[in-house]
Symmetry: C2
Subunit: 127 residues, 2 copies
């Protein structure tokens, strides 16, 4: 079995509340994080909610990096989905953790798209 | 402990290869899926890659729904992150599975943002 992608889900607690509410700064940090990982940015879209919170995603050639903040809990949820060996998602996640000034974090990595070799050959022949 | 969000990661195998390459159709299906879940669309961005594959995300008021396709493997990775009780992510996932004509799928649901009550009160007092 081969995995087509890696999906890392990261939880950042104890973050700076003002930063978690600053949509321009968050978008800047997220785009910088993606570049540090070695990924190629295709597009990004970020939004500030009322009364608080920021959501957004950077779509990359290698999949996506998304973020959602709950300033009222000092918490940000980040996920980074990537494929291939060229991108290092951990560089992006370390960078964003520092920028959010997270005092406590955890993460888990999940393999996505487990493909059997026979299926792979069959489908490639159809293209 | 309370979870702030639910994140469902779904794997769709044996999908229709032509649909997996059709960026306009995929964006339409994804937006329809989100509406069926009861979520509110904020923005969406989808892209077609060369030689094949589509990536994109619908940012919603309740977080996001993202999709990445590997037509050469008949595979699509979808994730739906939501918060609150109003949205039913499974309605969106069932809809998209049907539209992609997936013959085999699996999914897992992960709780995001586990908040202790004391932390919650402390941070709310700071806002």
């Amino acid at each position: 079995m081969n995995a087509l992608g890696r999906h890392i889900l990261a939880e950042y607690y104890g973050c700076d509340i003002k930063i978690l509410n600053d949509v321009e700064l968050i978008e800047h940090y997220m785009r910088e994080a993606v570049l540090k990982s070695g990924a190629t940015i295709i597009d990004s879209t970020f939004h500030r909610f009322n009364p608080h919170g920021v959501s957004g995603v950077v779509v990359i050639a290698e999949s996506h990096m998304a973020l959602h903040t709950w300033p009222e809990h000092g918490y940000a949820a980040v996920d980074f989905f990537t494929c291939g060996d060229r991108v290092d998602p951990w560089k992006a996640l370390k960078y964003i953790s520092n920028k959010l000034k997270s005092s406590k974090n955890s993460s888990r990595e999940i393999m996505r798209g487990l493909i059997e070799h026979e299926t792979q050959e069959l489908l490639e022949a159809q293209l």
